[in-house]
Amino acid sequence: MEFASEKKQELLSKIARSDRHGEHSLYFDGWKAYDKNPFHPTQNPDGVIQMGLAENQLCFDLIEEWIKNNPTASICTSEGVGKFKDVANFQDYHGLLEFRQAVAKFMGMVRRGKAAFDPDRIVMSGGATGASETLMFCLADPGDAFLVPSPYYPAFNRDIRWRTGVQIIPVECHSSNNFHVTLAQMESAYTKAIEANINVKGVILTNPSNPLGITLSRETLTSLLSFTSRNNLHMVCDEIYSASVFNSPAFTSISEVMQETECNPDLVHIIYSLSKDMGLPGLRVGIIYSYNDQVVNCARKMSSFGLVSSQSQHLLASMLSDEVFIEKFLEQSSRRLAKRHSRFVKGLEQDRIHCLEGNAGLFLWMDLRHLMKESTFDAEMKLWRVILEDVKLNVSPGSSFHCPEPGFFRVCFANMDDHTVEVALKRIREFVSKGNENGDDKKLLQKKHRQNLNLRLSFTSRKCDEGLMSPHQRMSPHSPVPHSPLVRART
């Protein structure tokens, strides 16, 4: 029997048999727990609340309204069906010209006109997931490595490494300076890699950062860009959250920094997608934008493996080129994210839970070190299971983001309605006060509170008075099969 199953295993490739798809990590359990018992305000009010999914569900009302008012944007309406044939037939890997133009314009608008994008450099991919992998296939050989500041998005392990054979070298960031990556850290990691005979091909930055929810400063970007150019390394910037910045400092893109820094443009590449900023992950719109002509050419050929559906290209070409709508959308999205962020941060602060001061993204980086009996990843896991099974919140433990320090958790806040937010905060309050009844925890809490923590609360009360009604939290996705976090192409 054992021999038979071994033989069966050999039928598959090494890639297929490896674990580098990353789905066996412990926090798979969080998703199982959610799937088995998903929260619903009326039908299942004691269920698990999904806080592990970085989705922007706050602005669908605006998009739905736009769709109703723009029937020609669809090839399935009576107004638009005249274009069905041409669109359904269109499989050119350059992409619809109007789509590329609209995306380029949108990217420029998100950067407030500080950088302009060339439609001929826009290359499609199967979501940002496909974009990351394709870029690696273009830039690196198996065994080569990229430096990535940690904590980082867990699925990079799959996207960057799985089928490409490329390695990730984490550049560990620490709470002592609010997890900001520094030039010194980067240089140190690079030197160490070189000494270990590893062929480093470049750096991957996510800006704004997932899971930290912060934007990188102009100074940091400048120094890192210079560092990479000096050492002939690629600078890959994942800017997937670029329009999810809701508080100062304003977003600075690598595309702006390039204009004022001496660098080699052939080494600079941007990954983008509409999954977060527009809240349309299902449409699989990934973008590679490279300043290197050869990379554009090569990535474009590779895009055949994951083109954007021409139906979706057509819809988005129309939507993104509606400047009036997009301006309104970006402004509203920012506002609603700020409000949601503020509510959560305030709510947590009342329970003496601090978060990293964030100004972007769809999540908080929550500090629960004071609730752990010891500063270990084991303790973090134990705490996480309690949060999952007793508090019934699916949050994501910092270890899954390769955070070098235990005790931090990523909490998503933009994928639910206001009511669910209150339920979540109430549960956290109850959990914390239960802990307070227990002497040990209380002492722990007091000790941490007395320490001079660097983490400060952020109060964003820019538009506190705005009322926002959004639809109910989405129910469990349409599948009976237990999920891992990676079932969502991007979490």
């Binding site: 669908f60 979501g127 992950p281 299902g282 994951g306 979706s312 990676l486």
Partner: protein, 486 residues
């Protein structure tokens, strides 16, 4: 460029700098010629006619009518927009259940409901292009190989080999037996690989065949199943043209063969599918990997994250394919229209002494121009092809680009144009043959001063009038691989 010093290590990957994308082969010129000078019945009647693109453009009227009558089936109509949100956020790599159910049902229907497909084995991919790469990543390591009967679809060189590092080894087929794949040819190819110390992981077949337009008979399929089981290698069946069979004999899918063969190891069998040809939707990028191996389904599903089908498109496809009545009618009509188109073309070619391989499927003909070659070499074929492009102004595809072992064959696509364009193409071919008639070696000659091609339409009033597709929306010169799949 800056003055920053650079060390000398290569900046890009090997994959990025090799020719594995397969776009440098000489028939790129055909596409450049078409792009520079595309045919249009009124605006450019002397332009190049595109006959190198295997697209099914004959049934859009049916789809259009269905769309207009079913507004609630889409998320961007007034009637359907309340579903927009749920669909737009759906990125689960299992795919919408209604999508998988509809595709499984459609695949069964196309095979005359002789087999049933399980929705849970349906894995999405970025078109058949993505599907082929995905299955290769699942089954083979870098340096491994797949056997593939020649002639074969040129895109396989990119899809199976480029980023995977896997190789394709030809199983040579000959015109002497109508390019049928034989056990001997398989054994020879396998033995060659073993001798060269190359590990063979599987056999890839396309049924119905591109470029031949023929289907594999039951005996051949059984032979293939026996072969792969004996060697313990995978069988990957690309059935992308399954619903383009327009005449007897009926299509036999590998799924039927394995149902009756108890001895077959199901873990070795996988089907590649897509809606690009059968439904005529190449732009929607609906690729499917259907494996009988659970581990491959699981792994493939994880990999599908790199090329999922847009949820908006999944929803549309689920709607269309679930309409049993519409699909039944569509498949019938499609078959009839393809049959008609095929008949007209082959008849027109026959009248000027050009034979094609006897075929009953696909969107193309496998045309025999060996008689027009000055000598039986690839160079002569290429020269003839340049003449066809530059003088006759038809972009057809030379057999060498399909790795055909015998020079002189050309694939001619016939379902991507309207009737008018088809007539123009036939006229041009006729005129060309007349000019070069004395070079043709054929049994019967058809000299006609006044070339009149007679068309026998089964139902003349059913011939669809459609505009010829213009150059795709790009000013940039293209290679054939610009179309994800040709």
């Amino acid at each position: 460029m800056s003055s920053i010093s650079s060390n000398r290590k290569p900046v890009l990957s090997q994959i990025a700098t090799n020719d594995g994308h397969a776009e440098k082969c000489s028939y790129f010129d055909g596409w450049k010629a078409y792009d520079r000078d595309p045919f249009h019945p009124t605006q450019n009647p002397n332009g190049v006619i595109q006959m190198g693109l295997a697209e099914h453009q004959l049934c859009f009227d049916l789809v259009r009518e269905w769309l207009v009558n079913n507004p609630e089936a889409f998320i961007c109509t007034e009637e359907g927009v309340d579903k927009f949100r749920d669909i737009a956020i759906f990125q689960d790599y299992h795919g919408l259940p209604e999508f998988r159910n509809a595709v499984a049902k459609f695949m069964g229907r196309v095979r005359g409901d002789k087999v049933r497909f399980e929705p849970d084995r349906i894995v999405m991919s970025g078109g058949a292009t993505g599907a082929h790469e995905l299955i290769t990543f699942c089954l083979a390591d870098r340096g491994d190989s797949f056997l593939v009967p020649t002639p074969y679809y040129p895109g396989f060189d990119r899809d199976l080999c480029w980023r995977t590092g896997v190789r394709l080894l030809p199983v040579v087929c000959h015109s002497s037996n109508n390019f049928k794949v034989t056990r001997k040819a398989l054994e020879d190819a396998y033995a060659k690989a073993v001798e060269a110390n190359i590990r063979v992981k599987g056999l890839l077949i396309t049924n119905p065949s591109n470029p031949l337009g023929t289907i594999l008979d039951r005996d051949t399929l059984r032979e293939l199943v026996s072969f792969i089981n004996e060697k313990n290698i995978h069988l990957v069946c690309d059935e992308i043209y399954a619903a383009t069979v327009f005449r007897q004999p009926n299509f036999v899918s590998i799924s039927e063969i394995i149902e009756e063969d108890q001895a077959c190891n199901l873990d070795l069998v996988h089907i590649i599918y897509s809606l690009s040809k059968d439904m005529g939707f190449p732009g929607f990028r609906v690729g499917i990997v259907y494996s009988y191996n659970d581990a491959v389904v699981e792994c493939g599903r994880k990999m599908s994250s790199f090329g999922l089908v847009s949820s908006q498109t999944q929803y549309l496809i689920a709607s269309i394919l679930s309409d049993d009545q519409f699909i039944g009618n569509f498949l019938l009509e499609s078959s009839e229209r393809l049959a008609t188109r095929h008949k007209v073309f082959t008849h027109g070619l026959r009248q000027v002494g050009i034979k094609c391989l006897n075929s009953n499927a696909g969107l193309f003909l496998w045309m025999d121009l060996r008689g027009l070659l000055r000598e039986s070499t690839v160079e002569a074929e290429t020269d003839l092809w340049r003449v066809i492009i530059n003088d006759v102004k038809l972009n057809v595809s030379p057999g060498s680009s399909f790795h055909c072992s015998e020079p002189g064959w050309f694939r001619v696509c016939i379902a991507n144009m309207n009737e008018e364009t088809m007539k123009v193409a036939l006229t041009r071919i006729g005129e060309f043959v007349l000019r070069n008639g004395n070079k043709l070696v054929r049994k019967e000659k058809c000299w006609q001063n006044n070339l009149r091609l007679s068309f026998s339409f089964r139902r003349m009033d059913d011939v669809v009038r459609m505009p010829c597709i213009m150059s795709p929306h790009s000013p940039i010169p293209q290679s054939p691989l610009v179309q994800a799949r040709t």
